[in-house]
Amino acid sequence: MLRYREWIIAAMLYPVIFASIPIFLGTWLASGAEGASMIFAKNVGTEAYSTFLLVGANMWFFVMTALWDFGLKLRKEQASGVLEDIYIAAGNLTWPLFGSGLFGILQCMAKFIASMAIGSILYGTLRYVVNPNFLYCLGMLAVGLVGVYGLSFMIGALVLRVKEAFSLLVILQMLFGIVMGVFYPVSFLPYGLRLVSYALPMTIALNDMRALLLSTQYVLDVNWDTFVILCQSLLYVTVGAIALRRSERGIRRGAGLASL
């Protein structure tokens, strides 16, 4: 990461820019910031629309990062023909994967703090972020991200099979943006889609992080939600690891890891 410092700056700025587009469009539609606050409060339950959108944009960015980092990394190794070398090596892949996931989570937490600070200063909403609940929010983010990395293992398994990683990841990132409720509450979605949304690893965490900072509604209540997020994350990691292992075995039995 330190070798590519440009990424650090970009990672702090991307979510702020992502959030800025709906913020400006919304302000335009509502004929000014005051009107936007009022309409947003009526529709969503909080007038702090910029903080609401900043939290969502950050979360979306983390999901994208996890998917692209892992999915595309595997595809690149596969295309450049070094994936076989990695699998032939006499080591256990579990611990490197665990280490890279843990690093990813810590990195996301640092980026979240920086990006929320930049965005909140820019939009003058620092008061919503500088409060003790922000620490709880960070904890929830960390637990939720475990599930996201589990999901990225599953996507990695799929990429090894499908081999057309780019479009798959672009579609998934858009789908997650829509289904997770990145720029709106999940209650805006039809009932069936809402159920799919809650099954995703970050939806409940995102909803509750907003609830902690902006006093919007929890899914159940904060304790139950935390428990559900924890269970979901463990489930996603376990299923993700199994899927990845199965995919590797399947490919080893077939044409080989580097087959294009």
């Binding site: 070798r3 590519y4 440009e6 990424w7 700056i9 970009a10 990672a11 700025l13 991307y14 820019i17 800025s20 587009i21 709906p22 400006f24 469009l25 919304g26 302000t27 335009w28 539609l29 509502a30 936007a36 309409i39 947003f40 009526k42 529709n43 969503v44 629309y49 450049s80 499908v162 081999k163 057309e164 780019f166 479009s167 798959l168 672009v170 579609i171 858009m174 789908l175 943006g177 829509i178 990145v182 720029f183 709106y184 509450p185 805006f188």
Partner: protein
Amino acid sequence: MRPSRIGRALIIALRKDFIVALRYPFELVGSFVASILMVLLVVLAIRPFIPSAQPLPPDFILSVSWGGFILLLSSSPLFELSISVRQERTDGTLEQIFLSPSPKLPLLLGRALRSQILSVLYGACYLASAAYLLGGLQFQDLPQGIYYLLLGIPIFYGLGLVMMAITFNVREIIPTVTLLQIGVAFLSGFFLPFNIMPYPLRVLAMFIPTSYSIDMFRSAISGSQPQLIPSSMGPAYLLEPIFAHVLALVLPLLGIVAFKATVQRAKRRGGLQQG
């Protein structure tokens, strides 16, 4: 170098890239799906700001629809050009290209041309979906709008060539080109007309070369006056077309000069593989 040779190199590069692209049909189809999902995301993102039972303003629909189209259109010059150089460099094939006697720039431009053709198709898909979901598009002066849209393309390519030249000198270009693309989209008023931008952003927008043609494009299709240059600086309807035409001529030349100078410098320094 003879123009026919440059043209031939461009066509060969384009053909090669299309053959590669056809090998991955899911990539082709997937991008159409992604452009429809992008519209859906925008439509849902603005819902919390809409008071009940109020239709969307026509200029808002125009901005959001054409904004996405221009964003997709600009991705080839602003993103693909640099990424293709980076790809060659990480694959270790960049020096091979420069050792061959074929013209280099057309070979690299051929890659962007393939994605340019595809991005026009993806953009059209986005535009059709946006028109359907947001409630139809109205145009005041479509031919003039298309003219300014086309005038913007050499400006995008000029910027893209400058970025491609920078790619040779930095270790990692992806964050920079992504920020450039998003920054240009944001500040050139792809989605937002300049009159609703905060003043500091509007001042910044005046230094982005693509802003003038985009503003003229918006002005033509919506029938409104150009908004970027404040009246205190002079008549915008006169100055903005002049700036747009001058930039469309100057920027591609600047890009070619920057690219050639960088390549010469890299050759003198003894290598292209800085990654």
